[in-house]
């Protein structure tokens, strides 16, 4: 079943990139980027998973009980914060773009082929 566990992150990466590439709306593009971010979180956690093991929280389980990897979880927490902050900044820029131009179509933002 590794195919599924490692295939889903690849799928999310490609789908998210597809969304960014084909998007006709900045908000859509920004949300698609968060799908790319999700792929990294899912991969981190599937990599660190151990079948049958508990969560690495020893509040009410014995310390000897096998637990899944805690490090990938810490990394994916940081990853989630990074993803959300980037989205916030991008949304703020999108609001400004709309205020200036009245459109959110990324292709409408293209520069005229000037010098």
């Amino acid at each position: 079943m590794s195919v599924l566990a490692y295939g889903v992150p690849i799928w999310l990466l490609v789908v998210g990139l597809y969304g960014i590439v084909t998007s006709r709306n900045l908000l859509h593009q920004i949300i698609s980027l968060s799908v790319v971010q999700a792929s990294t979180s899912v991969l981190l956690l599937t990599v660190g998973f151990r079948a049958g093991a508990a969560a690495p929280v020893f509040a009410d389980i014995p310390a000897t009980r096998p637990a899944v990897d805690p490090v990938v979880q810490a990394l994916s927490l940081t990853d989630a914060v990074v993803g959300a902050t980037v989205s916030a900044l991008l949304l703020a820029v999108a609001v400004q773009v709309h205020k200036r131009t009245g459109t959110l179509d990324p292709d409408a933002l293209r520069r005229r082929p000037e010098r």
Binding site: L27, I31, V81, K99, G102
Partner: protein
């Protein structure tokens, strides 16, 4: 791998696809929120409650909220 893990993984894959496939931003914000909940469930199943909790507060609440606020501005301003 148990059936539960496989099921949730497939749902997350489909959820991500749906987020990208929905082209209307308002609807997309809601689908993204659902996707956040799916991710949180997956993280919970993968024994990562810390990450699941943060995914709920960020992916399912804070981020969609920001998107909705941006949308409110954009819809209001476009008149």
């Amino acid at each position: 791998m148990s059936g539960l893990e496989a099921t949730v993984l497939v749902l997350v894959g489909m959820g991500g696809t749906a987020v990208v496939a929905v082209r209307d931003p308002l609807r997309q914000a809601m689908v993204a929120s659902l996707f956040g909940i799916l991710l949180a469930i997956l993280f919970f199943v993968l024994q990562a409650p810390d990450v699941a909790l943060s995914e709920i507060v960020v992916g399912a609440v804070a981020l969609p909220l920001m998107i909705l606020l941006s949308l409110a501005k954009i819809r209001g301003g476009s008149r």
